[in-house]
Amino acid sequence: MAKMNMLQAINSALSIAMEENKRSCVFGEDVGHFGGVFRATSGLQEKFGKERVFNTPLVEQGIMGFANGLAALGYTTIAEIQFADYIFPAFDQIVNETAKFRYRSGNEFNVGNLVIRTPYGGGIAGGLYHSQSPEAYFAHTPGLQLVFPRNAYQAKGLLTSCIESNDPVIFFEPKRLYRASVGEVPEEKYSIPLGKAEVVKQGSDISLLAWGAQVEIIEKAAAMAEQEGISCEIIDLRTVLPWDVETVVNSVLKTGRLIVSQEAPVTAGFASEISATIQQECFLHLESPIDRVCGLDTPYPLAHEKEYMADHLKVYEAIKRSVNY
């Protein structure tokens, strides 16, 4: 074990994967010698050479098209989009190509060895274009997997699974926690399964569900609620698509209450999808309406970031509303 922050944990997972498999490449804007603007790929070019770790021209659609091609040849392809806010020029390549490669060819071809790494999320004074959480756009696209680590340990284990998965993945990295999340992380390889939520803390009165950086927020809210004797079950969804319905259903069958919290705007966010499924699966067991605590339906602001965010106080208020319903 070693103390690592999330960037070091990600770097370690990438390094092990490239060591193991010579037919693997890591690329994106500034990821080469510089090691990426957040330094997640630091030292990889020195270790594995410029042919396998390299800067690309500044063109996200090109990065993803190139990635699809390389992955179609069977290369383990790890492409970085510098900020999730800048993934949209690559939307066509991801939604129409990556996601449909296997299906449209009758499994003649696939890009299952592709991982798209991209920092997402707010809380860093990034304004409109360095703060977004665009998972819902991609969650509407069958064929993709969407994975979110909540801390350094999870990041390494989940990224390892993403790299080994035979279906393409977008790995959303909570950039707010890149350096803030520090913990014990094994130096050797390990993996954490995709498609599996984790019950982070058992509780009996209400279930709280989030993913990525938002898990920390619901934990904070839960700690406040516990002071008032409300027992909260905390679930980290980890994989947003395809998601682990069973774990969430089992939790809600036990507690009878659910709050889903996401950073993204409330309307048509993934929290809405979860709410619809859970009310169908658990209807007769629900003690109160499922609530969503999310960002407002506005672009991500700057001066009013604090007000906009789905913070622990808003989650705490929702817990009280639900319990007192």
């Binding site: 390299f54 800067n55 021209p57 001066a303 009013h304 913070d311 106080l313 208020e317």
Partner: protein, 407 residues
Amino acid sequence: MGKLNNIDNPNNINSSDTLSLEFVSEHALSIPSFKMLDASGKMYKGAMKSTMDKKTALRIYATMRFVRVLDERMLAAQRQGRISFYMQCLGEEAAVTASAAALEDKDMIFAQYREQAALAYRGFSLENFMNQNFSNEKDLGKGRQMPIHYGSKELNYMTISSPLGTQIPQATGYAYGQKLDGEGACSICYFGEGAASEGDFHAGLNMAAVHKAPVLFFARNNGYAISTPASEQFKGDGIACRGVGYGMKAIRVDGVDALAVYEAVKMARDYAVTNNEPVLIESIAYRLAAHSSSDDPSGYRSKDEEENFRENCPIARFKSYLLKQGWLDEAQDEKAKDEIRQQVLDALKTSEKIEVPALEELVTDVYEQVPPHLQRQYEQLKQHIIKYPEAYPATAARIVSNTQEAK
């Protein structure tokens, strides 16, 4: 050899035929850099005669000097934690200022993000610069975007958007409308050599040529896209050569030479507006500053390299020219510089004390009118803030006192 067959030309090509099997060299096109001033600010022997009058020259100089001081102070303010982010124009002041000076006020400016000098030349006030950087309630952008994302309808300066290259096809569409309006206006569109790799570059330039839009594409080739050097960005001869591929006129200019940039853009503007055609201009300079306040260039380039280019200062070169012309007085210049420093400091102190925009501005302008669902979200948020005022210090005090007054 002439044409072998004289047939119709559905492929829209313009060439003769050949019987010899050979490639066209990737170096077939080599574009020289247009210059007027040498490094010491002296006109090259045989240089074209300058058309820049004294008034324009002094306004360009004053703008460059102002932006240099503003950049120094604002970067320092960022380091002190007073603003969250900043981007300097260091090394590219002549390219941006002199190009803006060659335009008319009715021309639209589509900037990328490092063109504060063009906005300053247009007359954006020091207060406006400050208020944007401090995201306060007097910011024209209502505190919504990160520092340096300026915009002004009054000054024909389109509000900056962070995603790279998105402004390029927009400039094409805007200029097409300007052509239809027939008032002799055009647009200039700035972008870096890195942004020229984006798909939007291709889309914007091709459409401008096909649809004959009077737009000046001003590529600031400053050598770096964050850490990525131009040598890892493209293999062709800079950006200018691409203009030929799109079927538009192109020119390369020394971006450290304010006189040369001014003449090049003036000629390009005349041509674009007269013929309703786009022109691609490539300015060659060096991004002396870090990409932004979040960047540390020591991770990808040497101090020696930077020092080498620091000597090639666009402001110093132009100042020497002005002194040689007898248009500038050294002592007065020093005095003016001190005055600007003081003005910037004073404006900074005033601006940082101005409150953040009212909470309402969080939900306005998403649509022209605030829709009911967003109004509800706003009301809920307000109640929440009243309940936890200490958690939202930027907005709570005003909401609480407004609510009390209402009672």
